[in-house]
Amino acid sequence: MSDSTTPGGSADRPVPQPEEVLGPRSGELVSGSEQAGRRGRGPEVVQVRRGMFGVQGSGDTSGYGGLVQPVALPGAATRPYGGWFDEAVDVLAEVLATEDVAFDDAVERVVVDPQTDPPSAHAELTLSVVPEHLLAVCRALRDDQDLRFELSLGVSGVHYPQDTGRELHAVYHLTSVTHGRRLRLEVAVPDADPHIPSSTSVYPTNDWHERETWDFFGIVFDGHPGLARIEMPDDWPGHPQRKDYPLGGIPVEYKGATVPPPDTRRQYS
C-alpha cells in the first residue's frame, strides 16, 4: 500500500487540511480545527500521520494503511484573547512601534492555548515571533513597566521534521514577577538555516539554556558568548533530541521472550 510506505508531507503531495480528511469528529481529534484556514491564521498543520502501528514498507498488514491524520497545533487566536492577554499584546505593539517595528512584522501570530469561550482560567499566551525581531520583542517585554517580564525560565526546543521551512522551534518561557503573568515566545526557523539571535544580552540566564538547545536540536544562537555543547561530549556527532535521531537500544530477553527496544515497538500515534 503506497500510502503507508510514503512518509507524510512529501513535496509532491499537498498537505490535507483537517476538515478535508477528518469530517465531523475532527474537533475531537485535533484541537483548534474549528477555525481551519490557510497557514498563519488557522491551525498549524505540523505533520500528517499515515497508517497505524508504525508499519512501513511491508504492505498494508494493519488494515489502517489508508488512514490519514493531520496533526494540527492551535492556530492564531481571535480577539478578544481573554484576561490580560489583549492588554499585554496592545502594550507590546505600542512599545514596538516606538522602536519603528510594526507588530505584525515582529509577531507572526498570537496563539491562546486553549482558546475557549468563555476564556479558560488555564489559558496560556504564545507569541510566534520572527527571528529578526526576537531581541526587540524580548527587550520590550522585559523593560516596559506594564509588561515587565523580568524573569526568563529558559529556552526549550521542539523539532517538527515535516513542518517544511519551520522545522525547528525554540520556545522561550517568560515570567513577570511584578504582574504575576506568564507568556511564551516561539521562534520557528528552517532546518537548512537554523539561526536565531541569542537572547543572552537581554536574559543572561538563557546562556546555558541556549547551549542546551544547540546541543540537542542544532539551533545556532548567533551572538551567544560560547555556544558549546553542554550535556553531550564536545565531539558528539548529531543532535540527539531531533526526531530523526534514533533512540537506540537493544532487544532484551526476559523469561524466554524478546522485548524489542522502545523505538521499534508498535506505535499508536
Partner: protein
Amino acid sequence: MTSGTFTATRPPTADEFDPGIPGFEASGGDWDEIAREAVGEERIVVNMGPQHPSTHGVLRLMLEIDGETVTEARCGIGYLHTGIEKNMEFRTWTQGTTFCTRMDYLAPLFQETAYCLATEKLLGITDDVPERASIIRVLMMELNRVASHLVCLGTGGNEMGATTVMTIGFTAREEILRLFEAVTGLRMNHAYVRPGGVAQDVPESFEDQVRAALPKIRHYLGQLGDLMLANPIFKARLTDVGVLNLAGCMALGVTGPVLRSTGLPYDVRKAFPYSGYETYDFDVPTSTDADCYSRVVLRLEECYQSLRIVEQALDRLEATAGAPVMVADKKIAWPAQLAVGADGQGNSLDHIRQIMGTSMEALIHHFKLVTEGFRVPAGQAWQTVEHPRGELGVHAVSDGGTKPYRAHFRDPSFNNLQAVSVMCEGGQVADVVVAVASLDPVLGGVDR
C-alpha cells in the same frame, strides 16, 4: 519518518570553525609551557570533580587559582546525562512519570507532579482532578521538600567537616522516606503521581503514621538548628560567602531559597498557585543578607513551614477519607487501584476477577488503556512548581498521540549552576565548596 536530508545532524566540517578563535596545538609538549607561551604567565587550573566528594555528584568545577584565590570558576556538566527527555517521547503519557521521577532523585515527587499538572492542562482536566488527589500531592510534595532540604543541610555540613550535621540530617530524612515507602512502596523513583490523580490512595492509618513522625522530624530539625545557627565556626565559614544579590538572581534566573535570600518573596506556590496551595496557610521566609548563611536559615525555616502545610493537609485527608483519588473520566483514569495480594502489590484481585470473568468490554478497555494509553489533544502547555531548589518548569508538547511529542524540564539546579562563576570568583577555594552547597545542585536533575 527518517529521511536523511537534515544537514545539521552531521558533525561540523573543518571550514565551519570560526577562524577568529585562536587555537593552540600541542604535540607532546608540556601544557605549562604552551600556556606560558600563549598567555605569557603561569596559571594554575584546578579540576574539582567530576568525582569529588563535595561537588554533590558528578559536577566538574574548573577553577583557575592564584594562590588561594579563585580568579575564574567554570562548571562542566553532562556526566550524568541519560536522555530521560528523549526516552519519554517513546513511552505513553502515564509511563512518563516513571522517567521524570528519576531526574532530580532527591525531589522525585516534584517532577512527577509538575509533569502530571502539565499533562492535565493539555487534557483540559485541571479542574476535574479530585480534591483528595490534590491534597495527597501537596502532602507528599511538602514531605519531600523537607527530605530534600535535610539532605542539602546535612551534606552541606558534612562538606565543612561537621559530620554530625550529616548524620542527623539523614536520620531525619529516614523518617520521611519511611512514610513514602508506606504510600508508594518505594523510597525514591516513586512514579506515584499520575496524570489525573495519584496511583493509589494512602494506606489505612497513614495520617497517624505521619502524625507520629512529625514530632521526631521537628526534634531533628531543632538539633540541626542548634548545631548550625549559632556555631561560630559554621557562621564564619558561611557569612558573607557566595553573595548573589537580587539583580544577579533575576538576570541569571536563579529562583528558590537563593532568590528569597535576597529579599524577594517569590514562591510559585503563592505567585502561581497549583494543586490548591492558595487554600493553605503558610509563610514564605525571606532574608536580605543574600549569603550562604541566610540560605541555611531559610531552608530550615522552610522545613517548618512545610510541616505546617503537612498538618493542614492531614486534617483535610481525614475529612475526605474514601473520596476518589483519580479523575472520574474512565478514558483517562487507570482502570483499577493497586492492591496488596499474597504475592505482593499488584492489580486488585477484584478488578481482575471482573475483567477476566464478567465483562469482555472492561477487559478490552483495560488492555487498550494500559498498552496504548490515552490520547492528548495537540498543543503545548507550561507548568511550574516550587521545587526545593527553585522553580521547576515543564514544557509539554502533544501531537494528539498517546506519547509526549516533547517533554522539556527546566530544572532549577541546571539553571542555578550558572551562578557558580559569579558567586565564587574572587573568593577562596574553600568558599567554592560552601557556595556550591548553598545552591544545592542535584546532578541527576542538572543533566537529566
